[in-house]
């Protein structure tokens, strides 16, 4: 088994984790406030915005990949950055995939309980900022769920990062794109090995996240 885990494979695993964590973190920073904002505001075009959000939640990764490719290609509007076929490009594509998902989950959760939380905050004399902190804390369960969902999506994604990352050896090759390549080459053993590691990482993340969450939220609330 150890001969399967060579230096190159280790590099691939590390790059995968880097990409996934970075994409999830950035998407959380963007998606959580966006979801809370979408719940709070009321304007004419809001229903259209929600519809767009729902559509983007299910957007096909290859389409997102294509869009990012067109933006970053040498003659594209952001071509001068030179980010095509780099980690940055893969993270951008994944952030575009994940942010709507996280925003949508937070929006739905917020719709259900934010008015109670905001009213409570007023009765306690909370400032605007304290109210936002309270909302994020009280919606912690749902935000956690959104983060895990986003992380899972980022880690298992192939289509978008294949297009914008290019699956370049030692550079943008991650676990999913490697598995796909190995299968094409008929190296099934190594493919299965990587697949198993991918599953193990998913499991480990769940366990770590469970421990990190300081207080366990109960479902047996007394109403």
């Amino acid at each position: 088994m150890f001969e399967l885990l060579d230096r190159e494979t280790l590099g691939i695993i590390i790059l995968t984790l880097q990409m996934t964590l970075l994409s999830t973190a950035i998407s959380l920073v963007l998606g959580v406030p966006l979801g809370l904002w979408l719940d709070r505001v009321n304007f004419k075009g809001k229903s259209i915005l929600v519809l767009i959000n729902r559509t983007l939640m299910a957007s096909p990764p290859v389409v997102i990949g294509l869009v990012v490719y067109l933006l970053l290609m040498r003659n594209g509007p952001f071509g001068s950055l030179g980010w095509l076929f780099t980690l940055q490009a893969m993270v951008i594509a994944q952030v575009l995939l994940l942010t709507p998902i996280i925003c949508g989950i937070v929006y739905t959760a917020s719709q259900r309980s934010s008015s109670h939380i905001r009213s409570f905050a007023v009765t306690m004399g909370a400032t605007k900022w304290q109210t936002q902190v309270l909302l994020i804390k009280e919606l912690g369960n749902e935000i956690y769920f959104a983060a895990i969902t986003g992380f899972g999506r980022a880690m298992s994604e192939v289509g978008a990062i294949m297009i914008v990352g290019g699956n370049i050896r030692y550079h943008t090759r991650v676990m999913t794109t490697t598995i796909s390549l190995l299968r094409n080459r008929g190296e099934i053993n190594q493919a299965i090995f990587l697949g198993a590691i991918l599953m193990l990482i998913a499991l480990a993340i769940q366990i770590i996240a469970g421990i990190l969450r300081k207080r366990e939220r109960r479902t047996d609330e007394n109403y």
Partner: protein
């Protein structure tokens, strides 16, 4: 507190309080049938709801001096103790252990201080919410049927407690600036014991008011008579 021409429309219901003056430092009651707008009026006073028009003059009170306790209180996804000290935390006040102990004791939740608050019974949740509203000594305390799930003994205890601590610091037992309470209750015994002055609401309006004893013993209004008949 002075209210002028306060209006709020909610679907088919509309609240309309032409003029209402509530001098500070007393305990007031609001009674009236279901759906007459008591909760709505109180939410407007608490700033939880914004009026369509009209004005509330708090005579110098800031939002931080006002609190409201609801029949179904919002409890944090956290322990009993952290719920209790939440308003102090918001004010960057480091809670004194004797203060926390006092409020845990009056709620009977001393042994439950580390228990997850949302697993408490309905009555216990109400006691916790009431203690949480009292712990930071707000000047105006609005209570909306916040005793409804408590047992008779607990209700009597909190009636006494509020009467006593309205003008007295609960820990030092020294006189304090009188607090203002406004209490909504369907148990007339609550109103009779605690409230000096009572307002009767009907269809979104305050149609009569007076000193509680007089108002309830010799009602001057047909709607109020009808309401009291079923008690």
């Amino acid at each position: 507190m002075k209210i002028t021409d306060l209006k709020k429309k909610l679907d088919k219901f509309s609240l309309d309080i032409k003029s209402l003056e509530i001098p500070e430092g007393k305990i007031y009651g609001i009674i009236g049938p279901n759906g007459c707008g008591k909760t709505t009026a109180m939410k407007l006073m608490a700033g939880v709801m914004k009026p369509d028009s009209g004005k509330i003059d708090y005579c110098g009170l800031t939002p931080r001096d006002i609190t409201m306790v609801l029949r179904k209180p919002y409890l944090l996804h956290d322990t009993v103790e952290r719920n209790l000290i939440y308003p102090l935390k918001l004010r960057k006040i480091k809670p004194d252990i004797t203060l926390i102990d006092h409020y845990l004791e009056i709620t009977g939740l001393t042994d439950y201080r580390n228990k997850y608050a949302l697993t408490l019974s309905g009555g216990e949740q109400q006691k916790l919410a009431l203690a949480r509203a009292l712990i930071f000594s707000p000047k105006l305390i609005l209570i909306d049927e916040a005793f409804s799930n408590m047992d008779i003994e607990s209700v009597a205890f909190f009636e006494d407690y509020i009467l006593k601590t309205q003008t007295e610091d609960p820990l030092t037992k020294t006189p304090s600036e009188p607090k203002t309470f406004i209490i909504i209750s369907h148990q007339l015994s609550n109103i009779k014991r605690m409230c000096e002055y009572t307002f009767f609401m009907h269809n979104g309006e305050i149609i009569t008011s007076g000193e509680t004893d007089k108002l309830l013993s010799s009602p001057d209004n047909d709607k109020l008579k009808q309401y009291l008949n079923y008690m």
